[in-house]
C-alpha cells in the first residue's frame, strides 16, 4: 500500500505546480483555439483576387471571362493590361493573373493552339494553384469538345463537302448538342462520403494536441525520478522500509494518473470550448483516454528511466517526442504515402482512435485496434522501465 502513498504524494506535488496547468491545459487549449480560428472557413480560402488580361483589340472577351468568373463567389475579378497585372501579382495584391491569348479566335477557327498564361504569386501558392487548376480543367473540357467538334466537321466534310450554310448550322447545333450530351455522359462518377459527420480542423487538432501536450507534461513528471535523486529524497526513501518495487510502482501510478486527468480534462475542455462532439459513446471516449494515458506515461517513464540525468530526460525526451509527434500526425496530417512510417508511432494510433470516435462515431469498434497497439507499446515500455529502474 505504500506505493499508493508515494503516488499520492507525487500527484499532489505535480498538480500544485501552476506550470503544469499552464503547459498541460492552457497551451493546448490556446493552440487548438488558434487552429480553429485559422481554419474556420470551409475551404480556408474566402476570396481569391485575380486579374483577367484579354487581347488588346477584344475587350469583350476579357469582360465576358470576368463576368463568368465573377459569378463564382470565390473570385474577386478585375480586368487589366498584362504589365499592370504582373505587377499586382508580384506585389501580392492579386493571387494570380490569367492572360487570354491574342490568337484565341484564330486558334479556335484555324485549329492552331492557343496558350493561356497564368501568372502565380508564389507566396499565395494555395490560391494561385486553385486558379491554375481551374484553368487546366477548363482547358481540358475545351480541348475535349474542340477535338470532338473538329473531328465531326472533318469527317462529315470528307463524306460530302460542307457548304457555308451547313458549317454555320453545324456550329450552332454542335454547341447545344455537346452541352446536352455532357450532362449524361457514358461514364459517370458518383461520389459517396463514408462519414456522415461534420469535420472541422478543430476535430483533428483537439485530439492531436491532447496527445502531444500530454506527452510533454508527462515527460517532465517522469523527470522527477531524477529530481528526487538529486534532492536527496530518493536516498531518504531508500533508508525507509519501503521496497524498490513500491517506489517504482508509486511513481508510475502517479504519472499514469496525471496522464488520465490531463487527457480527460482536455477532452472535456475541447467539448465545452470548441463544441467538439466526441461521439455518442462516452464510455468509449473514457476508455480511449485511459489507453492514451497509458501509452504516453509508458513512453515518458521509459525515457526517464533510460536517461541518466534529468537534463538528459529533457533533451532526449523532447527530440523523441517531437519527432514522433510530427511523424505520427500530431502537428499536421501526414501525407498518405508516409503512413507506413506513421504507423510506427504512438501518436498515430492515438489519433486514429480519437478520429474514429469524433469523425466516424464508431464507438468501441473504432478504438479496438488502436487500443490493442497502444497497450502493447505501453506494456513493453513499462516492463523495460521496471527492469532498468530495479537495477538502480
Amino acid at each position: 500500500m505504500t506505493f499508493l502513498h508515494i503516488a499520492a504524494k507525487d500527484l499532489r506535488i505535480r498538480l500544485r505546480d501552476r506550470n503544469t496547468l499552464l503547459l498541460g491545459l492552457l497551451l493546448p487549449a490556446a493552440l487548438t483555439a488558434i487552429m480553429g480560428f485559422a481554419f474556420s472557413s470551409d475551404s480556408g480560402i474566402s476570396e481569391i483576387p485575380i486579374t483577367i488580361v484579354g487581347p488588346e483589340d477584344a475587350d469583350f472577351l476579357s469582360e465576358a471571362a470576368a463576368g463568368m468568373l465573377s459569378r463564382h463567389e470565390l473570385f474577386d475579378v478585375a480586368v487589366s493590361d498584362e504589365t499592370r497585372a504582373i505587377e499586382d501579382v508580384r506585389n501580392g495584391h492579386r493571387a494570380a493573373a490569367i492572360v487570354i491569348p491574342d490568337s484565341l479566335f484564330e486558334a479556335v477557327s484555324g485549329g492552331h493552339s492557343a496558350e493561356f498564361v497564368v501568372y502565380e504569386d508564389p507566396v499565395s501558392s494555395v490560391k494561385s494553384s486553385i486558379v491554375r487548376t481551374m484553368m487546366e480543367q477548363m482547358a481540358d473540357a475545351g480541348n475535349a469538345m474542340s477535338a470532338l467538334g473538329r473531328s465531326i466537321f472533318l469527317t462529315i466534310d470528307d463524306v460530302g463537302e460542307l457548304s457555308d450554310a451547313e458549317r454555320f448550322a453545324l456550329n450552332g447545333w454542335m454547341f447545344d448538342w455537346m452541352r446536352e450530351r455532357w450532362e449524361d455522359p457514358p461514364i459517370a462518377i458518383a461520389s459517396s462520403d463514408e462519414s456522415v459527420r461534420e469535420i472541422s480542423a478543430v476535430s483533428y487538432f483537439a485530439p492531436a494536441f491532447t496527445v502531444f501536450f500530454t506527452l510533454f507534461t508527462l515527460l517532465s513528471s517522469a523527470r522527477s525520478i531524477h529530481e528526487e535523486r538529486d534532492a536527496g529524497t530518493y536516498g531518504r526513501l531508500r533508508t525507509t522500509p519501503v521496497t524498490r518495487p513500491s517506489i517504482i510502482a508509486g511513481k508510475m501510478l502517479a504519472t499514469y494518473t496525471q496522464g488520465v486527468v490531463q487527457v480527460l480534462l482536455l477532452i472535456g475542455l475541447s467539448g465545452v470550448l470548441f463544441g467538439i462532439d466526441w461521439g455518442s459513446s462516452p464510455t468509449a471516449v473514457a476508455a480511449m483516454a485511459l489507453v492514451t494515458a497509458a501509452g504516453a506515461s509508458g513512453i515518458a517513464i521509459f525515457i526517464a528511466a533510460a536517461s541518466r540525468t534529468g537534463t538528459q530526460t529533457d533533451q532526449i525526451g523532447t527530440v523523441v517526442v517531437l519527432v514522433m509527434s510530427v511523424a505520427g500526425g500530431s502537428m499536421w496530417p501526414m501525407p498518405e504515402s508516409f503512413e507506413p512510417v506513421s504507423r510506427l508511432t504512438f501518436n498515430y494510433w492515438a489519433q486514429q482512435g480519437f478520429s474514429n470516435l469524433v469523425v466516424h462515431d464508431s464507438g468501441f469498434a473504432g478504438i479496438a485496434i488502436p487500443t490493442a497497439v497502444i497497450l502493447s507499446i505501453a506494456a513493453v515500455l513499462f516492463a523495460v522501465s521496471v527492469l532498468i529502474l530495479r537495477r538502480d
Binding site: 505546480d17 501552476r18 506550470n19 490556446a30 480560428f37 485559422a38 481554419f39 474556420s40 472557413s41 480556408g44 501580392g92 493552339s113 496558350e115 497564368v118 501568372y119 502565380e120 504569386d121 508564389p122 507566396v123 499565395s124 501558392s125 494555395v126 484553368m135 482547358a139 473540357a141 475535349a144 474542340s146 477535338a147 470532338l148 473538329r150 473531328s151 465531326i152 462529315i156 448550322a169 447545333w173 454542335m174 448538342w177 455537346m178 450530351r181 455522359p185 457514358p186 461514364i187 462518377i189 458518383a190 461520389s191 459517396s192 463514408e194 469535420i199 476535430s203 533533451q315 527530440v319 519527432v323 511523424a327 501525407p335 498518405e336 504515402s337 508516409f338 512510417v341 474514429n356 469523425v359
Partner: protein
C-alpha cells in the same frame, strides 16, 4: 560601454559552457529541421513530387475497366493501388455485387487505411458497349485532401473516354441534322472516317495553360503542413530559444547576483543593455547558423539579397531579445518564465504564419498575425525568398520589426527590477 560588453561577455561564457543550453540552441533546431525535412521529403514533400494514392477495385468482366485503369495509372500524380474484387461469399455462389464492393471500400476508408476508393462495376464494359452508360462509385474520406486530387485525375481520364464514346453518336446525329438520316453505307463511312481522328486531335490540344511564378521562379517555398521551409523554422527556433532565455534573468534575481551587481559601480541602464545585447548575439548567431545550414546542407535558396536578409534578421532578433528581457522582468520564478515563454512563442508562431501560410486564414486572423513580430518577419522572408524583393521593398517590414524591438526594449527597461 565596456561594462556592458563585459557583462554581456560573462553571460555568453556561461551559456557557452552550459552544454544543455548549447544543445537547445544549436543541436535541437538542426535535428528537428532535418527530421522534418526527411519526413516530408520522404513522403513526397516538395511540390513536384507529391503523389496521391488511389485504391481501385476493378470488378469489370470486360476489358474496358482495365483500359480505364491503365489510363489512370499513367498520370504522374496518381499512385494506383489495386485491390482484388471481394471474394464470393461462401454461403452463396452468386458473384459479388457492387454493394459488396462498396461495403468493403467503406470499411477501408472508415478504418483510415485509404482515403479514396474507386469501384468499377461488373457490367462496366457491357453497359458501355450497349450504350446505356455506366457509373463508377467513388468512396472517399471527406477529412483528407487526397480525394480532391484523385477524383479530379479520374475525371480527366473519364472525360477523354467519354469524348471518344460519344464521337460516333455525335457524327451520326450531326449528319442527320444537316442532311437527314444517313443510309447504312454512309453511316459506316462516317464511323470509319472518324476513326482515330478524335484521339489524334486530343493529342494536339487546342488550349494549353502555362503557369509562371512571378518573382523568383526558382524559389521553392513549399507551404504545406507544419512547414518544413527553413526560413520559418529559423524564425521559430530563434523565437523559442530567445524567449526561454528569459529565465536566466529570473535566476539571477533569485541567486541575488543581480542585486550584487547593483552594489558595484554599474548603472541600471548598462545592466539592461547588457542583457539585451547578449540575448541578441545568441539569437543572431543561432539564426545565421540555421540560415547557413539550410543553405549549404539542405540547399535552401535564400535569394541574393544578403544585406536585406541581414537587416531582417537583426530587427527580428532585436525584437525577440527585447521580449525575452521583458518576460524575465515580469516573471517571478524561472519555471514561470519558461512556461510563459513557451506559451507566447508557440502562439506567436501559429498566429504569425510560421506553421501554415496566412493566405488560407480569415482576414481577422491575418490581422492578428500582424499585431505580432512573427507575422511581419514571415512576410519579409516570403518577400525576400519567393518574390525576390530588393532591400527597399523589404524595408517596411524591417522598420516595423525594429519598432517592436524598440517597444519591447523600453517596456523591459521600465519593468526591470533587481529582486
Amino acid at each position: 560601454m565596456r561594462t556592458i560588453w563585459q557583462i554581456a561577455l560573462h553571460n555568453l561564457r556561461l551559456i557557452a559552457s552550459d552544454r544543455a543550453a548549447m544543445f537547445w540552441l544549436i543541436v535541437m533546431p538542426i535535428v528537428f529541421t532535418a527530421a522534418m525535412g526527411f519526413a516530408l521529403r520522404g513522403g513526397g514533400g516538395s511540390s513536384g513530387d507529391v503523389r496521391y494514392a488511389l485504391t481501385v477495385v476493378n470488378m469489370d468482366e470486360g476489358p474496358r475497366g482495365q483500359e480505364l485503369l491503365t489510363a489512370i495509372e499513367s498520370d504522374d500524380e496518381i499512385d494506383l493501388l489495386t485491390l482484388p474484387a471481394p471474394a464470393d461469399s461462401a454461403a452463396n455462389a452468386s458473384p459479388p455485387t457492387i454493394a459488396d464492393a462498396e461495403a468493403t471500400a467503406r470499411e477501408l476508408v472508415r478504418s483510415g487505411n485509404r482515403s479514396s476508393v474507386l469501384i468499377i462495376p461488373t457490367d462496366f464494359t457491357e453497359r458501355l458497349e450497349a450504350g446505356t452508360g455506366a457509373t463508377l462509385a467513388f468512396v472517399r474520406n471527406p477529412d483528407r485532401t487526397n480525394p480532391l486530387v484523385t477524383r479530379q485525375a479520374v475525371e480527366r481520364v473519364i472525360a477523354r473516354r467519354n469524348v471518344e464514346a460519344i464521337a460516333v453518336e455525335g457524327v451520326l446525329e450531326a449528319y442527320e441534322t444537316l442532311r437527314g438520316k444517313p443510309d447504312p453505307m454512309t453511316s459506316v463511312r462516317l464511323a470509319a472516317g472518324l476513326g482515330t481522328r478524335v484521339m489524334d486531335a486530343m493529342e494536339k490540344p487546342l488550349f494549353t495553360v502555362r503557369s509562371e511564378r512571378v518573382g523568383r521562379p526558382e524559389a521553392v517555398m513549399p507551404q504545406m503542413g507544419f512547414t518544413h521551409s527553413s526560413p520559418a523554422m529559423a524564425l521559430m527556433f530563434v523565437l523559442l530559444n530567445g524567449l526561454m532565455l528569459s529565465s536566466v534573468l529570473v535566476s539571477e534575481r533569485r541567486d541575488r547576483t543581480l542585486i550584487r551587481l547593483m552594489s558595484a559601480p554599474v548603472r541600471r541602464g548598462e545592466i539592461i543593455a547588457a542583457n539585451l545585447l547578449w540575448r541578441f548575439l545568441i539569437g543572431f548567431c543561432q539564426m545565421w547558423v540555421l540560415i547557413l545550414f539550410g543553405r549549404f546542407v539542405f540547399g535552401v535558396d535564400w535569394g541574393d539579397g544578403a544585406v536585406a536578409l541581414l537587416l531582417v534578421s537583426v530587427s527580428y532578433v532585436g525584437a525577440v531579445a527585447g521580449l525575452s528581457v521583458l518576460i524575465g522582468s515580469l516573471s517571478r520564478t524561472a519555471k514561470q518564465a519558461e512556461s510563459l515563454s513557451l506559451l507566447l512563442a508557440l502562439t506567436m508562431c501559429a498566429l504569425g504564419g510560421l506553421w501554415w501560410p496566412l493566405e488560407i486564414t480569415p482576414k481577422t486572423y491575418q490581422l492578428v498575425g500582424h499585431l505580432i513580430p512573427t507575422g511581419w518577419a514571415m512576410d519579409a522572408m516570403n518577400n525576400l525568398l519567393s518574390r525576390g524583393y530588393s532591400l527597399w521593398l523589404v524595408l517596411p517590414q524591417v522598420l516595423v520589426l525594429a519598432g517592436f524591438a524598440l517597444a519591447f526594449g523600453i517596456a523591459s527597461t521600465i519593468a526591470f527590477r533587481y529582486e
